[in-house]
């Protein structure tokens, strides 16, 4: 799912720090912004915009972090509004609902672990490319 690939150039100390922050940003926001799933996306998006004119390494990792948050937003928002409708409308807890929550939770846990791992590796200057998100970032983010 994730692979360590040599980057185009060896990133500097200040770059690895910023790139690592882009992942940490989503984690901190996820803890602070619970249960609203949009908070972590907004935090990552702001960090991405702030570093839009930064070096290629930083931009690349900001983009990867942002893309992963966008897909999680859809998964979590659906679960969030489903929960809201159970609390405030006639909708009842069902087997489908619990199955969806467990699936969404598993995906969030996987993303959480991968994000922590990537933040640590990026800080060390190791370029970590995720399955799908890495390829997508390569298409969007150019040197």
């Amino acid at each position: 799912m994730i692979s360590n690939i040599p980057f185009d150039y060896p990133p500097g100390e200040h770059e690895t720090e910023k790139a690592s922050y882009s992942y940490l940003m989503s984690l901190i926001a996820a803890i602070a912004g619970l249960p609203l799933p949009i908070i972590n996306l907004l935090a990552t998006a702001f960090f991405y915009l702030a570093n839009k004119k930064s070096t290629y390494f930083v931009r690349w990792h900001c983009t990867q972090a942002l893309l992963s948050q966008i897909s999680l937003l859809f998964v979590n928002s659906y679960g969030f509004w489903w929960t809201i409708s159970i609390i405030f409308t006639k909708e009842e807890i069902s087997n489908h609902y619990i199955a969806y929550l467990i699936t969404a939770f598993m995906f969030n846990i996987i993303e959480f672990i991968v994000t922590i791992y990537t933040a640590i590796q990026t800080r060390k200057g190791i370029h970590v490319q995720w399955w799908f998100y890495g390829s997508l970032t390569n298409l969007i983010c150019k040197p």
């Binding site: 897909s71 006639k90 087997n95 619990i98 969806y100 467990i102 699936t103 995906f107 799908f132 997508l136």
Partner: protein, 265 residues
């Protein structure tokens, strides 16, 4: 680009597969969700009714109970509703009111029976309240207004009688939201039609009480808690218009009159 698309699709596939696998497990049974919900409602029903019956005077005339029972029996029998799930209580009070408490407790005031011109009108109101019970509107309203945590703490005895009284007041003197009221009205028309009771009488009852509302509003709790009665009467008429059913009476005319006399004395 092709590689990225394949990778993207494989993530979607992984998500759908995981969802499919999770769906195969009966989580509701595993976590005993339905049993817990039913138990909470059962406890709340007994708790609410226990407090309510102490504060009000229950009608002790056997005849009135038997007559109303036969109306409820017919509605239940013709709509495949388990009769034991509906617990009918008649309260001696002049207010025109009927409401449902948790766990199928259906409360009818003698004032409502006195105000109904015929058995079809009364059947309409009873059918409407049974529809609320069967559609689980009572627990939905309580959960929405009071909160599930508060309801559960009521069942464990961690709240005072005052909060339970307030919850009963909420059910007896405030309407469900418009969508739920309409749902109960339409369901009531179906119940009436299945039992071959003319639903037009239910609409007439709403029309009449809406007109009387301004003059004697203090006795018309049921109508003041069920707003826009004229509008409701109109859609009841519209919904039941094209049903070609040969209606019949459940009670004989003399039984109906005897019921009215019985309660008047």
């Amino acid at each position: 680009m092709k590689k990225t698309s394949i990778q993207g699709l494989s993530i979607v596939f992984l998500f759908v597969s995981m969802l499919f696998l999770c769906n195969q497990i009966n989580w509701m049974q595993l976590f005993s969700i339905k049993a817990t919900t039913a138990k909470t409602e059962e406890k709340l029903g007994e708790l609410f009714w226990g407090i309510y019956q102490k504060a009000e005077k229950q009608n002790d005339k056997k005849f009135a109970n038997q007559v109303l029972d036969s109306l409820v029996n017919q509605l239940c029998k013709n709509n495949k509703i388990k009769r034991a799930t509906i617990k009918l209580h008649i309260i001696t009070k002049n207010e025109v009111n009927a409401f449902a408490l948790p766990n199928g407790h259906l409360v009818v005031y003698t004032g409502l029976i006195a105000n109904c011109k015929n058995q079809e009108e009364l059947s309409g109101v009873i059918a409407h309240e049974i529809a609320h019970i069967e559609s689980n509107h009572v627990m939905s309203k309580l959960t929405k207004e009071i909160g599930l945590t508060m309801l559960i703490s009521m069942t464990t005895g961690n709240t005072g009688a005052e909060s339970i009284k307030n919850a009963i007041k909420l059910l007896s003197s405030s309407a469900f939201d418009r969508k739920l009221e309409k749902e109960a009205d339409i369901k009531a028309v179906d119940y009436l039609c299945n039992a071959k009771i003319n639903p037009e009488a239910f609409a007439n009852f709403l029309y009449r009480l809406a007109e009387e509302e301004n003059s004697t509003s203090k006795y018309l709790s049921w109508i003041s808690t069920h707003p826009e009665s004229k509008n409701r009467a109109e859609y009841i008429i519209a919904y039941s218009k094209n049903k070609k059913i040969k209606y019949k009476s459940i009670l004989t005319k003399s039984t109906w009159l005897a019921l009215k006399n019985n309660l008047a004395n």
